[in-house]
Symmetry: C2
Subunit: 184 residues, 2 copies
DNA sequence: GTCTATACGGAGATAGAC
DNA sequence: GTCTATCTCCGTATAGAC
């Protein structure tokens, strides 16, 4: 699928030949289904968004507690650590590349981040942080993006696991039962 | 200079025509100075490393205290917020792109991150965290990379300033005079 | 040293046979 | 619907005039 190639090689650096070879069909045949390369990108982004929506609704079924949901999001980094080590975060890399290309679909890419942000925000609200739920969500997005990038730059999975642990603890800190320090 | 173009457009997406136009010289004339495009990249990476070394030694002169030095590193994000908003962090983006290209010079790119990591690590050691200075340094690198990426994806400078403030507070937390909470 | 002209390959895209 | 052949454009790189 083109999605994997865009993730592994980047959008611009993936050619029709690459996609056709992977899919096992002829180059020219692509134009029967897509009218341009950007059209393929649009389809990929749309499919990814759909996958994200499905993933989030699955998580909601599987984990009833907001704190568990948040921790599960962080845990996603650990689960996909081998691909992150090689290619970074698929969302972050896509946003960055389309941004630099000043591509028309760059908002579609950041829209995928937005799906996560909204969902995370809801969980933080449910934890009792209605006032700054969105800020906490963005903080968490940023932490995860940073972890992904450094992990791929250094090929350091110890770092990734360490940082995810720290994130989990941070979430505990924000949970209702957490013992606050005096004067705060 | 080619450096700016690589930063703003990415390496692969920058053509000789782009560089020649910016430099105001003829395309073909480049091969008098560089034997290939990769050769230009090598020169750019080398120059960047040199700049980083200079920057770090300047900071050491300007700020005697390790905590101030660390804070100044975080403050760099604020100072260059307009370019970060548009193009992300030059180091992080370069590492990510060369990584995906499986480029021979990808280690040179992560070597630039390593310069910062070593320097940050020294400052954390001086703050009294010899045992996990390197881990704290990587944590800080990751935080900054995440901030850069999210800032560019969302074009949100409020987020950037908020997160840099949080980083500064985190550094205070690690400083010798900081009042610890009981039981820790 | 700096330019123009050009080679050569690979990219995206199209036409038309089957 | 799927293929092959081909077009055009632009990329890096080279040759050679000045």
């Amino acid at each position: 699928m083109a999605d994997d190639l865009f993730y592994q090689k980047g959008f611009e650096n993936t050619s029709f030949t690459d996609i056709a070879d992977t899919a096992g069909i002829a180059r020219g045949n692509f134009y029967y289904y897509f009218k341009s390369k950007d059209d393929i990108l649009a389809a990929v982004l749309s499919k990814r968004s759909e996958n994200i929506r499905e993933l989030l609704s699955e998580w909601e079924k599987e984990y009833p507690e907001p704190a568990e949901r948040l921790k599960n999001y962080a845990l996603m980094l650990v689960k996909s650590q081998s691909t992150i080590e090689n290619f970074g975060c698929p969302l972050g890399a896509m946003c960055l590349e389309l941004n630099k290309l000043r591509h028309a679909l760059q908002d579609d890419a950041s829209g995928m981040l937005e799906l996560f942000r909204e969902w995370l925000s809801k969980q933080f609200s449910a934890l009792g942080h209605e006032a700054d739920a969105s800020k906490l969500a963005m903080h968490m997005l940023g932490r995860c993006q940073g972890i992904s990038l450094i992990t791929s730059a250094y090929n350091d999975l110890d770092y990734l696991n360490r940082e995810v642990d720290a994130l989990q603890e941070w979430i505990d800190t924000l949970s209702p039962g957490y013992k606050q320090r005096p004067g705060q």
